[in-house]
């Protein structure tokens, strides 16, 4: 009865709203705002994902996440360090300017500029030269097998527009000037920016002159950040938004039961794991027990992964034994075995290591990080309390926690890695596991060093034979597991929810909404 009344009300409500707005308006209630309209001004993959509706790369992922031509129609490898791209002709930017080789060169220069927060996303880039209007040669530092993967996320700007508005280099906010590209956008993509009010609303309208045949039927996207999860759910139920890319897992049953909402879920490529401080001292002083393999093993054994999956993640996650998901090249099912939950074994190992009474350490988690992270950390803390060690939970938003993690003020912390946009196990190995050294080991916040792994990763980085390269990477991942450098937890669930009026909305394992495939 209540459900029926609800259904009627919801129907009336959504009918009323539908008549008020055009049927093809797509209202996206996201969990957070984009950082800027300039995908190069802010090193943040969510911003890049959203701006991909406006800007495009030379290549892109198709519906099956295979690389397909976008602004480049074809490419060839002239030598291991020089790639030649043929560009698509007849493409124009939103302001009408034609797309040519100069735009590609200006964009590559911009993204790899010393001030660019995204320069790490194109590490192999050295220089680009114009061959003719529609041909560009890209020169690399060395042989690099993953260039195309990187290029999917390098958005192409209009060179003339950049020059005209003095935006040829990425915004440097330290100079105290607003960047023109921060509030204005001019891409080649399927949608144009109509207006933007940070944290309140950003409106995109369809680009009628898009070079590709639209597979969507949207005319307008209203992107509204709604940071409170409960409010997002309420707004979906009452028909105020059409879609959210972050529906709280605990509300999925209710959303699924509502007649006007449908839920889309799958496991994300993102694997969540715990990383540990490996310096000589703990964050708050004293000898660091985490350098003892037995202690790390004990901590791993004390975590009941299946219980976490069933309770905290409501059966929606996939418990993991490795730091990468099965879809990622380099994965090995043999290595992806869960460490059995073993309380007594854990206690015995701790005693053997000389810590029968445990020790206290700082456990750093984010309140706005991964799916149900606060819950997850609290549950793990209580599991650890049972073997007598004393985690001191430190939970705060990401911007507050990151400096503590990088600055040796945390002993154990959560980290999630999806290997995007590379989609290869090379990504966590070089960025997290490798010793800190220049561009390598940037996320090696605990300062560990395994020369054996470093050697394998170095060799893999220049190996052009895919199978040989992956074998080396898998071997490195085996050592990661054996040495418990990280404690893998799970691939987290990805839950989208959309209004029943949305006919088609494909979901991808990289958790990136691609609204150019949406039919409403």
């Amino acid at each position: 009865m209540a459900a029926l009344r609800y259904a009627l009300l919801a129907g009336v409500m959504s009918a009323a709203l539908a008549s008020a707005a055009a049927a093809e308006t797509f209202r996206w209630g996201s969990s957070r705002d984009i950082g800027s309209l300039d995908p190069y001004s802010y090193g943040d993959s969510f911003t890049i994902n959203v701006m991909n509706h406006v800007y495009e790369g030379l290549v892109r992922y198709d519906r099956n996440l295979a690389i397909e031509p976008a602004l480049a129609t074809s490419w060839e490898v002239l030598s291991p360090t020089v790639w030649r791209f043929r560009l698509r002709e007849g493409v124009s930017f939103h302001n009408g300017n034609p797309f040519t080789a100069d735009d590609v060169i200006a964009s590559l220069k911009r993204v790899s500029h010393a001030d660019s927060p995204l320069k790490g996303n194109l590490p192999a880039y050295k220089a680009a030269t114009r061959v003719d209007d529609f041909t560009v040669d890209v020169e690399l530092n060395g042989a690099y097998p993953l260039l195309l993967n990187d290029l999917t996320n390098i958005h192409i700007f209009d060179a003339e527009w950049l020059a005209q508005h003095n935006a040829e280099v990425p915004t440097d906010i330290a100079k105290g000037i607003e960047g023109f590209a921060t509030f204005n956008a001019n891409g080649t993509g399927p949608f144009k920016v109509e207006s933007r009010q940070p944290d309140a609303k950003t409106v995109f309208v369809v680009n009628p002159g898009w070079w590709d045949t639209p597979q969507h039927n949207l005319t307008r996207i209203e992107f509204t950040p709604v940071s409170s999860a409960a409010t997002r759910v309420a707004a979906l139920l009452s028909g105020e938004i059409d879609f959210t890319e972050d529906a709280p897992v605990q509300d999925l049953p209710r959303l699924a039961a509502a007649p006007n909402v449908k839920v889309l879920e799958r496991t994300d490529l993102r694997t969540i794991f715990l990383m540990m401080n490996r310096r000589d001292e703990l964050a708050e002083g004293g000898k660091n027990p985490l350098n003892d393999l037995r202690v790390r093993q004990a901590m791993q054994k004390a975590i009941d992964l299946e219980l976490l999956r069933d309770r905290v993640m409501r059966g929606k996650s996939r418990a993991a034994g490795m730091i990468i998901a099965p879809e990622i090249p380099g994965y090995d099912a043999e290595l992806d075995k869960l460490t059995p939950y073993d309380l007594d074994g854990a206690k015995a190992l701790l005693a053997e290591a000389g810590y029968p009474d445990g020790f206290a350490f700082v456990f750093n988690c984010m309140s706005d990080g991964y799916v149900n992270e606060e819950q997850l950390c609290q549950a793990i803390a209580s599991m650890w309390a049972r073997i007598g060690i004393e985690p001191k939970l430190d939970i705060a938003p990401r911007p507050v926690q990151t400096p503590k993690r990088t600055g040796a003020k945390a002993d154990v912390w959560t980290l999630g890695w999806a290997t995007l946009p590379m989609l290869d196990s090379y990504s966590p190995l070089i960025q997290i596991i490798h010793s800190r050294d220049g561009n390598a080991g940037v996320f090696n916040w605990g300062d560990w060093s395994y020369p054996e792994i470093d050697a394998l990763v170095q060799k893999a980085s220049v190996e052009l034979d895919r199978d040989k390269r992956l074998a080396m990477q898998t071997e490195a991942l085996r050592i990661v597991g054996e040495e418990v450098i990280a404690i893998p937890l799970h691939q987290q669930p990805m839950s989208w929810a959309a209004s029943a009026e949305v006919d088609e909305i494909p979901q991808f394992p990289d958790n990136k909404p691609r609204l150019w495939f949406v039919k409403k």
Partner: protein
């Protein structure tokens, strides 16, 4: 009920209880059913909070006692509910009743502590400012002006967020309550100080004080023994109402995420956590703490309201 002392002229001072029972205040109290009800309710809640370790089925702070298998149980009268989890459990398997009892304990302790701290600061600064006047008075009152020129809630949020950030992680949980007391007291003392100061300036010039000064009674003694008692009536009312306000501010800060941490939840923290599950069917996680908080503050304010009326002869 009236139990007049036999010889009011020279009693061996009647017992405090008897004096109380004889007072106008007591008479006013017993003739106000809402005041009695509020007092009983408040008494019960304070007692329950005080005895929480004895009566709560579980120690919600003992991480090792939480059993994830028992998470999300509904209250016992709902299908699926289980003893001893009378009001159900939260997402960590924490007993809601226990969390609530311990949570109200934190809320009440922070409320009382901030009233005490702000009273101590406010009374002494008010006395000093009023008694000595001059530059001391000027400086203190300007500080008060500045503090009152920023909305209380804003100061509390800022102080709480800032102070907690500056504590080392190990001290953060232990220090959270102290930080909240500081954040709330920082503005609350001004009201007491102003009241006492005004009263002190009046009393200072009265003959009995002048006389005491002549016979060289120390200033401290004059202030504490003679002036202070005369300012007590408005202070008592303000303190009661501020107690309710302090509980509210604490709950608000915790709700906004700058108060008590989830490992040591106050009522506000419990509501913040529960609010995230408002639509998941886990209504008991948010409903009971919210009710408890409302009842607590309502009881305090009813009592304060009655006290104000009872002590204000104009309204009688």
């Amino acid at each position: 009920m009236t139990d007049t002392p036999v010889c009011p002229a020279r009693p061996a001072t009647p017992s405090r209880l008897a004096r109380l029972r004889d007072s106008d205040l007591w008479w006013s109290f017993t003739s106000h059913p809402t005041a009695v009800g509020a007092a009983v309710l408040l008494g019960l809640m304070m007692l329950a909070a005080l005895l929480a370790p004895l009566i709560a089925p579980q120690n919600p702070y003992d991480l090792a006692a939480l059993e994830l298998w028992n998470a999300e149980l509904p209250p016992v009268w709902v299908e699926g509910g289980q003893w001893p989890y009378v009001l159900g459990t939260d997402l960590q398997g924490r007993d809601v009743l226990s969390a609530m009892l311990y949570g109200s304990r934190i809320s009440i302790v922070i409320g009382i502590a901030s009233v005490i701290v702000s009273l101590a600061v406010g009374l002494s600064l008010g006395l000093v400012a009023g008694y000595f006047g001059g530059i001391v008075d000027n400086v203190l009152m300007r500080i008060g002006d500045v503090l009152l020129s920023i909305p209380t809630i804003l100061i509390a949020i800022l102080v709480s967020a800032v102070a907690r950030e500056m504590l080392p992680p190990g001290l953060r949980e232990a220090g959270a309550a102290a930080v909240l007391v500081l954040a709330i007291s920082l503005t609350a003392w001004v009201q007491y100080a102003r009241t006492v100061r005004a009263q002190t300036m009046v009393e200072r010039n009265k003959e009995y004080v002048q006389a005491a000064r002549l016979i060289r009674v120390p200033a401290r003694r004059i202030m504490l023994r003679h002036i202070l008692p005369n300012t007590m009536t408005p202070i008592l009312v303000a303190a009661t109402l501020n107690f309710g306000l302090a509980i509210l501010i604490e709950a608000t800060l915790s709700f906004l995420g700058v108060g008590m941490p989830p490992t040591e939840p106050s009522l506000g923290t419990l509501i913040r956590i529960g609010n995230q599950y408002l639509f998941s069917g886990l209504w008991w996680i948010v409903l009971f703490p919210a009710l408890h908080l409302c009842l607590l503050v309502v009881a305090v304010n009813l009592l304060g309201d009655w006290l104000r009326d009872a002590l204000n002869p104009k309204l009688r």
